[in-house]
């Protein structure tokens, strides 16, 4: 029998293969933007060479801006890969139960996504440090900004940052579960229907089923949020607009994720065939 640890490790290796390619493209892209920006600004290469230390803060800014798009691109890429593995006979022949297979696959997807974000933070940190020590203007700006705003690192602020980060990550995880749910449920319905042999009709029907399920899901989710979540927050005497309800919202999102997880495992185990 295959262990969870070895399968999870193998999934992670498979998914992390392109993490470095994404990161290199992002870093080089940001550098190219900052070089062209500086070249256009200075006009001549000789002048540009005198201002090369200006490059680092621009590079940092470009990297952070591109980071937003690259994190979204990577998220889409990794979710597609996740579904491809769920559908792959090569992977599904592994001697492990379907439940553990699905858990290992989805968790490794999430872990790879977090890994990509951590690598982004590391590269941004390196560029920030280099800019701080090599560019006097940038350093003095940073120092001035730090004095002006006097960031308040109280425990509450740290809690708030932690809660927000957790909520964003949980929402990303929810999106990946939702994509799996749409994939599994639509495929299960497709396998049940007496489908025509025409490929185009089958594809259109599949898209139509996905839209119907997504619509039904939105309705169910609205009822859940309005009725259950609203009642719960009311019961706890919390209003997200005035109170710090984030920890409670996080707990509720965790519960929603767990419900989605159980539904997906059921669909995966009993209806979703590998091909």
């Amino acid at each position: 029998m295959t262990s969870f640890k070895s399968l999870f490790g193998r999934f992670f290796v498979e998914k992390a293969k392109n993490v470095y390619s994404f990161l290199i493209i992002q870093t080089v892209g940001a550098l190219a933007f900052s070089v062209f920006g500086l070249l256009i600004g200075t006009g001549k290469i000789s002048e540009f060479l005198n201002f090369y230390t200006e490059l680092l803060p621009d590079w940092l800014m470009g990297f952070c801006l591109l980071g937003v798009f690259f994190v979204i691109f990577f998220f889409i890429y990794i979710i597609v890969k996740n579904e491809k593995i769920n559908h792959s006979q090569t992977w599904r022949l592994t001697a492990i139960s379907d439940e553990i297979f699905y858990i290992a696959n989805s968790l490794s997807t999430f872990a790879t996504f977090v890994y990509f974000i951590i690598l982004n933070i590391i590269v941004a940190g390196i560029l920030l440090t280099a800019s701080f020590f090599m560019n006097k203007t940038f350093r003095s700006s940073c120092e001035r900004m730090f004095k002006q705003f006097r960031p308040n690192f109280e425990l509450n602020t740290i809690h708030f940052i932690f809660d927000i980060t957790l909520l964003i990550l949980l929402c990303c995880f929810f999106i990946s579960l939702l994509i799996s749910f749409l994939n599994f449920s639509s495929k299960a319905i497709m396998d049940y229907l007496p489908v025509a042999s025409n490929g185009l009709i089958v594809k259109l029907l599949h898209i139509f089923i996905v839209i119907v399920i997504a619509w039904l899901f939105t309705k169910a989710e609205k009822i859940f949020v309005d009725q259950v979540l609203g009642s719960l927050l009311h019961f706890l005497n919390l209003n997200p607009a005035y109170n710090n309800a984030l920890p409670y919202v996080n707990v509720i999102v965790v519960v929603v994720n767990l419900i989605m997880y159980v539904i997906n495992i059921y669909l995966f185990k009993y209806f979703f065939e590998a091909e």
Partner: protein, 235 residues
């Protein structure tokens, strides 16, 4: 350990179409069995059900006495098209995949088979022809130590000479008590190594006969298979 394969009352439907109905099949240890039938008879589906990748069937499927899909997968080796790997994947990476995920994978055996099949480990999947890919699949399948080998048309793309060589060697690669269920259209070529023939028709197993009994009737396996269909058509 029970029989390598025991199937009772298997029914499988997809898109409201019955593909397999009331199928019973038992295979004894140490046999090489041909699974024969026309295109679309349900041979591949049957193998996919046995290996636990096809879902939503009724009936009991036991591999080496185990009914749970995870246990079944651990006791069988199924020829897979390696579609889960990118075309840029090297053979050496696929070996790593098998080593990590299959505890019964025997690297020494694989190396022998790889040399026999003339496959270089640094080749990428995109560099392999259809025949070479099939050789790799056969080598990977037989490098696992299991009770049941499921070979789904494993030789269709392999050239005639290599095919003969591989078929002759199958008997050496399997363990004494392991059973092989092979579906192939080259009946005459695999006939020499077969112990039994199973024919699928009308969505179920309609004939299971030992090759010994077939030969006792002064027939070759191919003649038997052809005459079986002729008889059915005449009726």
């Amino acid at each position: 350990m029970g029989n390598p394969l025991e199937i009772t009352d298997l029914v499988y439907k997809k898109n409201q179409k019955k593909i397999i109905t009331n199928l019973d099949l038992t295979l004894k240890p140490g046999k090489i069995v041909a699974l024969l039938g026309e295109n679309g008879a349900g041979k591949t589906t049957l193998m996919r059900i046995i290996s636990g990748v096809a879902k939503n069937y009724r009936g009991t499927v036991k591999v080496a006495g185990f009914t749970k899909e995870a246990d079944r997968k651990g006791h069988l080796s199924f020829t897979d098209g390696l579609t889960g790997f990118a075309n840029s994947t090297k053979i050496s990476d696929i070996i790593k995949f098998y080593q990590i995920l299959y505890q019964d994978f025997n690297l020494k055996q694989f190396e022998q088979l790889r040399e026999f099949m003339n496959l270089k480990p640094d080749l990428r999947l995109s560099e392999l022809s259809k025949g070479m890919k099939e050789k790799l699949v056969v080598a990977l399948t037989f490098s696992r130590r299991v009770d049941l080998y499921l070979l789904d048309e494993p030789f269709s793309g392999i050239d005639a000479m290599a095919r003969k060589k591989i078929i002759k060697s199958i008997i050496l690669w399997k363990q004494e008590k392991s059973t092989i269920l092979v579906s192939d259209h080259f009946v005459n070529e695999i006939a020499a190594v077969l112990d039994e023939v199973v024919i699928i028709k009308n969505k179920t197993v309609c004939m299971q006969k030992s090759t010994e009994a077939i030969r006792a009737d002064n027939q070759s396996v191919e003649e038997f298979y052809e005459s079986f269909y002729q008889r059915e058509e005449d009726e």
